[in-house]
Amino acid sequence: MLAAALGQLVAVLTVLALAPLLKGVIENLKAKVQSRRGASPFQPYYDLRKLLGKQRTVTPEASFIFRIAPYVVFATPIAFAMLIPVLTAMPLSWALMADMVGSGFVIGIGGFFANLAAMDSGSPFGGLGASRSRFVSSLAEPTFIVVFFAVGFISGGTVPFVVNDSLFTSSSQIVPSHALVAAAFLMVILAEAGRLPIDNPNSSQELSMIESSRLLEFSGPDQALMEWGGFMKLFVLLIVWLNVLVLPLGLANAVSVEGFAVAVATLVAKMFGAAVLLVGIESALAKIRILRVPEYLGGSFVLAFLGLVLYTVGH
């Protein structure tokens, strides 16, 4: 019991510690692709440290929601990390508290509070960003649901641990649906985490922003928490994609030092692979117009649905 709790703690700490690095590596690699030297991969850590040391300013119009939102945004990916197989193939203490749908709700709370806070601040850009991000999320929702249904259907359960266990031990019959579902899920992750082609995380133009315009009014430690929360959101969603849907290799089967060491090492390697993939996608694609976002997410929905249907055809 204690070992399990300890293991869970290690998993959460891994997420906390590595999430900024993922962001830094992506930015660094992207700069390399664009023939720039780029900032150090550790730059996000420096930024966070700097922001945490600064003073906090809050608009007088803002209510308590604006004050608590950073903590919620920071906490939800951590809670989410407890529900998914970060380092271990078997569920730890609190992992069975929620299935994939439930964990979807958990991650949704963070987005919900970020939107509320953005509107609460009274800044026009905040409201703009909030409504756009709602627009994207509401369109991404059906795909999420169908992906959950599909994997639930294939594996007979929606708890992430059960899913990754059965997706990779059954016949080759499910591979086509599996690939479609994985592709659809990656597409919605990109949309949810505010990456290209939906949202440009490097944009400095307020009018074209989605995700970052919600952060404009935050400062100091609040901004640090919001940004860190954002890094972790991308990180944990990618973990779900990698460890549940694509490549569940290297996960520890018991709480042991060696097992965890191997798991952390493989996670770092997989995350580096994912970073390369993201950089490839983001270098090849331009941001699409906001009115074409439904096409993109509709595409992901069709892929996920097709995955679901093909599975039933095969049987």
């Binding site: 019959q173 069709v302 095969g314």
Partner: protein, 214 residues
């Protein structure tokens, strides 16, 4: 058996790119990627079965369809139509996607009806292959741009080669060579006609060519 199936599933995913992309270059790239994956399937099959002709076939696909033909088409798209996109289309994006999904389903349903004796690859790959074939033909009919139409046909042909790998993996190498050679010649003729089209109507939009009726 699993690596082949995964590669085949990726081929299916790439096929959707033909339906959704509007950039000619992206379509040509997707074709090259699809051909590499197909070559990968053949080579992985060689690793499983030890049939040397599968290795040669895989290499042939990668060289001809993964390198030479995309180079040629890419050269055409670059020199004649630098960075062009397809500006008009017969089928709008959401409809195209839904039809594509429907065709994939049809491909799988048809595959379950084909009473073949499994050789080296499982039935699900036959479904993928049929779906890739249908998606390629659909791309040809749904697109106006000459280059996209041709890429659709070639993608359909990739689907057929995958069908071949499923139903008759030991088809003689000479036969496969003939098929691939045929496509190579096709590319030359297509290149010639596309250049002519560009000379005649200053674009490769086939909807400019609608004078013949009755």
């Amino acid at each position: 058996m699993l690596p082949e199936v995964i590669l085949a599933a990726l081929i299916l995913l790439v096929s959707f790119q033909f339906i959704v992309t509007r950039r000619l270059g992206a379509a040509v790239f997707a074709y090259a990627l699809q051909s590499w994956l197909l070559g990968g399937v053949a080579i992985a099959l060689f690793a499983d079965s030890g049939l040397i002709e599968l290795l040669l076939f895989g290499l042939l696909i990668i060289i001809v369809k993964g390198v030479i033909i995309p180079q040629f088409l890419g050269y055409r798209t670059k020199s004649v139509l630098a960075g062009r996109r397809e500006t008009s289309y017969y089928v709008r994006f959401p409809t195209a996607l839904l039809l594509g999904a429907g065709l994939t389903l049809v491909g799988f349903l048809v595959a379950t009806r084909i009473p073949f004796a499994p050789q080296l690859l499982p039935e699900s790959v036959l479904g993928i292959a049929m779906a890739v074939f249908l998606l390629g033909l659909f791309t040809t009919t749904a697109r106006r741009d000459a280059i996209l139409q041709v890429v659709g046909l070639f993608a359909a042909e990739n689907g057929l080669l995958l069908v071949g790998l499923v139903v008759a993996p030991s088809l003689s190498l000479l036969i496969e060579f003939a098929i691939v050679l045929d496509i190579l010649i096709a590319v030359l003729v297509v290149g010639f006609l596309v250049a002519r089209m560009h000379q005649e109507v200053a674009s490769t939009d086939t909807s400019e060519l609608t004078r013949l009726r009755g």
